[in-house]
Symmetry: D3
Subunit: 323 residues, 6 copies
Amino acid sequence: MAFYDLSREELHHFMPEIPEPPDFDQFWYETLKDTRSCPLNPRFTPADFHLTEIESYDVTFAGFMGQEIKGWLLLPASRKKDLACVVQFIGYGGGRGFPTDWLSWAAAGYANLIMDTRGQGSKWRRGDTPDPEMQGSNPHYPGFMTRGILSRETYYYRRLISDAVRAIETARTHDGIDEDRIIVTGISQGGGLAIAAAALDGRVAAAMPDVPFLCHFRRATTITDMSPYKEIAEFCHTHRDREDLVFEVLDYFDNLHFAKRAGMPALFSTSLMDQICPPSTVFAAYNHWKGKKQISTYTFNGHEGGEGYQFLEQLDFLKGLGL
Amino acid sequence: MAFYDLSREELHHFMPEIPEPPDFDQFWYETLKDTRSCPLNPRFTPADFHLTEIESYDVTFAGFMGQEIKGWLLLPASRKKDLACVVQFIGYGGGRGFPTDWLSWAAAGYANLIMDTRGQGSKWRRGDTPDPEMQGSNPHYPGFMTRGILSRETYYYRRLISDAVRAIETARTHDGIDEDRIIVTGISQGGGLAIAAAALDGRVAAAMPDVPFLCHFRRATTITDMSPYKEIAEFCHTHRDREDLVFEVLDYFDNLHFAKRAGMPALFSTSLMDQICPPSTVFAAYNHWKGKKQISTYTFNGHEGGEGYQFLEQLDFLKGLGL
Amino acid sequence: MAFYDLSREELHHFMPEIPEPPDFDQFWYETLKDTRSCPLNPRFTPADFHLTEIESYDVTFAGFMGQEIKGWLLLPASRKKDLACVVQFIGYGGGRGFPTDWLSWAAAGYANLIMDTRGQGSKWRRGDTPDPEMQGSNPHYPGFMTRGILSRETYYYRRLISDAVRAIETARTHDGIDEDRIIVTGISQGGGLAIAAAALDGRVAAAMPDVPFLCHFRRATTITDMSPYKEIAEFCHTHRDREDLVFEVLDYFDNLHFAKRAGMPALFSTSLMDQICPPSTVFAAYNHWKGKKQISTYTFNGHEGGEGYQFLEQLDFLKGLGL
Amino acid sequence: MAFYDLSREELHHFMPEIPEPPDFDQFWYETLKDTRSCPLNPRFTPADFHLTEIESYDVTFAGFMGQEIKGWLLLPASRKKDLACVVQFIGYGGGRGFPTDWLSWAAAGYANLIMDTRGQGSKWRRGDTPDPEMQGSNPHYPGFMTRGILSRETYYYRRLISDAVRAIETARTHDGIDEDRIIVTGISQGGGLAIAAAALDGRVAAAMPDVPFLCHFRRATTITDMSPYKEIAEFCHTHRDREDLVFEVLDYFDNLHFAKRAGMPALFSTSLMDQICPPSTVFAAYNHWKGKKQISTYTFNGHEGGEGYQFLEQLDFLKGLGL
Amino acid sequence: MAFYDLSREELHHFMPEIPEPPDFDQFWYETLKDTRSCPLNPRFTPADFHLTEIESYDVTFAGFMGQEIKGWLLLPASRKKDLACVVQFIGYGGGRGFPTDWLSWAAAGYANLIMDTRGQGSKWRRGDTPDPEMQGSNPHYPGFMTRGILSRETYYYRRLISDAVRAIETARTHDGIDEDRIIVTGISQGGGLAIAAAALDGRVAAAMPDVPFLCHFRRATTITDMSPYKEIAEFCHTHRDREDLVFEVLDYFDNLHFAKRAGMPALFSTSLMDQICPPSTVFAAYNHWKGKKQISTYTFNGHEGGEGYQFLEQLDFLKGLGL
Amino acid sequence: MAFYDLSREELHHFMPEIPEPPDFDQFWYETLKDTRSCPLNPRFTPADFHLTEIESYDVTFAGFMGQEIKGWLLLPASRKKDLACVVQFIGYGGGRGFPTDWLSWAAAGYANLIMDTRGQGSKWRRGDTPDPEMQGSNPHYPGFMTRGILSRETYYYRRLISDAVRAIETARTHDGIDEDRIIVTGISQGGGLAIAAAALDGRVAAAMPDVPFLCHFRRATTITDMSPYKEIAEFCHTHRDREDLVFEVLDYFDNLHFAKRAGMPALFSTSLMDQICPPSTVFAAYNHWKGKKQISTYTFNGHEGGEGYQFLEQLDFLKGLGL
């Protein structure tokens, strides 16, 4: 897809303001307080996938309101103490798959905790974690973007972001991991969760969101026709009288607010031809990011972003931070 | 879409057998017993939509396991006693909308109860009924076809079919309606529910499924690429090790089994160019139908079926039955 | 389709001027004079479609140059005198279908006259009215947009707009209808005809064009690739030397001119993601409308517009006008 | 498009029978008699297109019922007497364009008369001939396939085939042309017309239909989704109650009947991946062809057929016949 | 495709500057010097295609570095001395086909030399000339746009443009051709080659590039998604670290530089809805053209441009120049 | 894509015969003899990609006729002697990328040599190996399927298959690798190369072709429209007179012949909804495979095949063979 968003010049100065709910911090404080009132209960069970250079563990911990979340922990076989740990979140529609799907960070000497995404993991990589939805909340457009969207309390991403914060805390409990050297990363939805979880946790050493999702919903839903942002537009298409409510709820989950609160160093990436997470929405979060930051901009790429190139950028970035 | 399924001749003799679980009847007997153990609690609240010729009521009743289901009841303004009642189920993705979306049957002198579809109603007509999913069951492909599909207990259609049976019972409680002249109908998923609910209720006077869905999953998922059957194929695409389990669960919900048990007269319809509910899957149910039956076959149509033509067929069919 | 037209702000101030032929009024005066010189000859024949709450009549009247036009008249069964009457025109490609396709207005207590569209009605709802074209005029791109387009005399919409004016006059002749309470409405092409007919008739009590077509051809043909505007672009694509002539002819049929002449109250609707009738072309007509006016703007909808929501808006609008 | 029709082996033996109206010959005898009762009135006006090697003439003659039909006549500049003449008909949607679009036959030493197609010529090459339609016949699906299709009298192809017969007669009137060496040809619709006109004229020296259209409507409309056959399917899609009538009318125009009556030598062509004129429909006509015949079969081509390769085949074929 | 590029007004003033390599002229001087050091060795072998009005010759000459290039020469049969000669280059993907594909210019009295395009001619018209690539240069995206793109020495268009210059020289060697009345033309890639070859040859009498390609690569690759410009974007998509190098190489081949150097009269054409060669890229070259110039602008056309209309424009243009 | 090929039952018995050139073995014997006459010259240069658990080497060796081919060698860091080595070939359009793209086999304790694909690697993963084509052979359809296809000597796959054989020989030269425990594998084109190279090498311990390409060209090109098989169809589409020659050349490269000669154990995989490498073409090779064999069949998958599931199957398969 040719350029369709702001020009390169405009992107670097794009600092849009969106409505911030006055009780934004309060909402998340209480959400996490309630969730943390359930014991984290992290478990790491060895999982045999015939790997000789990497140890893999089946992870379980208590996410939002104590609901059980799955994941994998991979450790480099060569050494196992005080490792920096990359906590990784997954793109929309995918699940944790097998440990063999996640070898890069461990092969590079990092511990790597991959969090499964509740409810997802049937579209392109299998997931194993259900998303219990006690109230059934509201009819929703197929997918996860509008699950429970009529109330900030029932919205799907309230649960998922809480899980992400707990995943970081789970990593810290492992005795092979240095709790001060946690890095969060992820692609697309995974990058969006990395931003939110970094800001809410407040203590991670670095964030590396790639082509992140969940940024500036109000703009994204009107400039692209691609899923998953489109799911929100489709919901409003049918529920024409709920448009205002939907965006008021989304204001509690927009990464622009989280970015303003995130003080750690960050390496972002974006593509100028990305129709799924438009570059202006990524730059909107990047430009608001409070900490030190840099961004890789890929001119002729779409949502795949930098792929192997960006992984090498990330390795360099972490080396530069001494992580 | 040109012809792609069996020939017209083959369709009329297509009587495929699929595995019937030995406890099929038991499963449904107990499902309904449990659901009926919750009081039906039907409520009919007048709803003002400026209609002068038709009275409309907002309906609420207790569906599966007592969960609240919405609907509309429309009555012809001219007379209100001992009406034959058409109970109508909705196509995939749609919800009950407004009473103004459902004027045909009432304008023709019938009571008309429209059941909202739990969870659905964000794709093309708004719905108002949540689908509480206590356990979260399993990750699912976007949509409703694989919600809870890894167990017959948690599968979405166990809940929805139960709701449909209770909708018929709700119609019977209304004192303007003649409880022996209930007709079930619906298009696509609505037609699929009409078949299942007719068989499970056992007492409805007639069934009129149009281009019905939920028939012969094993065949449908391999001969068409169109949603919603495709959702099942996509789930198995990702969860490659669950294919057998998925189809064993679906065997509890396949309309071929229900059709064999349905003894009332039926008017089916199908289109030879229907890619969403392939004609062979419709004829598979039709040919198995136990009661008296007839079918309207539209040569050059797709899933829209007969539209206004079929409505006139249905009026004639009901007249012919004295309904 | 994401936003692709003017911004919401710009839309509200968009007042483009297009060339108005000096003899525009003269052209239409003479066209109607000639047509009115043929007797209107309205006939209302009862049509039995098994409806108990609504009376339906097969309508025939003399349209353009006396050519026979079909339609339906629906009356609420409960009362039949001095009704306000909604005269309804049909969207592009459709025909009058059956009375059962048109129950809303009658169910709400209005008389409802639906005019069949000459030549159309084979694409999505059957029509029954031919479009005699004595001269064969000129080769045309498949469809109706370029039928006879090389001369204002032979252009298809000269005939169709004339029919629409005569349909209003037909409604007035019915003794159950209050001739001062005629309302015109329609979706897309139907909305476009409502604008033109309201302006030419001059006496209708209100106009309610939904996502109207036939507005600002010069702009529409260059900003959208969707039919039916695209048919005009395709004609010019082939007949490269007729571009100027085509748009000179279209200037006699552009609703921007009709809107400036229409003094009755109007309720418009438009969708910001409508690619078929772009919002700027609708606002261009709306902003030029001479009478009192209001507009419903649907953010996340396309050409389907407000559907059931808009019908409720229209009922309220008419109540507000005492109609 | 991969193979989707009968196998190569089956194609060579495909001799389907379709219903032949008992008065088929009578119908065409009277149609032509009536048309021939109007004077042919051929005119050849020199047209200057800066060509030095080819003389071009603007042709006018009286087609169906005396209606005026346009065309071009091209003559090789080097000699002008007793030329064999290729009468050429045009593919669906196109018109006669300019003489510069038709240089091949004249450059090869043949006279070449190109007949414009009434009403067509706005889709890909401009036409200049209207299609007067006195009665307006019936609503039709956009395009020409269903224009007047509800009666054999009013059907569009009755007029067009009659024009084609008259075009041959027009060629015969020119004194530079040898009236015994007329060849008919054309691609797609042009090939379909060549078959019909050859059979009806009875005297042409050879026919060379390429990927011909208008063969076996009953089969074509159910095995392909491509226009123009699809137009007929779409008409029946909407006018569900007219399907039988439509195909009864089409039986008067199906080239299978004409092929059985055509005794002159023929060179056909077809492509095995042609979705627009499926190979089985072409072979159906070819296998029924009464005269001597041969066919070029292109394996990996679609509706473009043999293009330049086939033109060389045709030159060889005519040389072989001494034409 | 609706308007998507600059407005008509902006186009006429669009004079973008792109980086010009300081050794641009030197590079081409040496390239041609090396190529010219191989003997041109033109051969014209009569080819029999049954044409009586046009003589056709199979042409061979030594192109880039003496590699053999094929072509056709067509001469009007009526006279053969001192003809003006139109040298024609072919659009992307096509080859020289047969002489019967190229009759227009000869029929109009011009000599016409058609140059085959090395390597191409398998997509839509057969070619007969290989593209020897001694070094294999670099992996490339399917197609020809990125063949050898990592160095100005190995880039495909260095070879092809050199061939084009030699084709003009080949025409001059024929004794039926007036060497001062050579005109270059072509559509799309053919138009792009016409610009470059005209500038490099410096002596051709006129250039007539239609919807020319190879203009302003830097802009084209970011405003359209259509091949062939897209091939360059796709290469950079994968080779993310070669983007700068790619465009530095392309600066040696951009027609904006050639246009500034071309002093002969030119007739351009462009279409406002052309997505393959966007109008702004054509106007960028046109506005930079050094000689006298005019341009045909087609409003509602895409990449097909003016077709027969433009051919007539070209005939007039040449008459006007006395050619 | 729904089922479109042979039924599951038919697939297991599908043993088609295609023409085998009498000098098939001779052709390959001489091709390899010539290639082996150039010294292999393997080089393994350490490459630093920050990996701690895996050692990576930049590989260079002499492929076809001594031309330089790139690759990667990855070794598990934990031990380095007498490793079984998986030689891996790459799917169509991709290149070797970075070592970080290929961690699975080394993480599982195997040496892993990845061969870059000459000329490819610009479509989805960067390659670094040119494909020198001395003669330029013939015009080709964009891509690699028809490069040099008019002669068995110049055909692209003659070079690439030779490279693949030499890659195995390169692995054997490394002193950390057990030369009797070489396994070949690859996906799609990589699987096709694995079959050919296994048969030609004759000594590899096992082959694991996934959804392999290059099997039964004659069938594949007529039952699917997907690239890359489609490239061959497109070439024949244009070069209509070369169809026979093309398939005679391809008979030297069809994996059906190689499979008959391959005596080592094999694990194949295929998907029933694979449109790129149709299941019948894979089964055709599988059923002809001479050695012990098993196949994983994925019902609801396309060309992605088994992904992570199949990798686990392969690990088990190799364990079972003691590799």
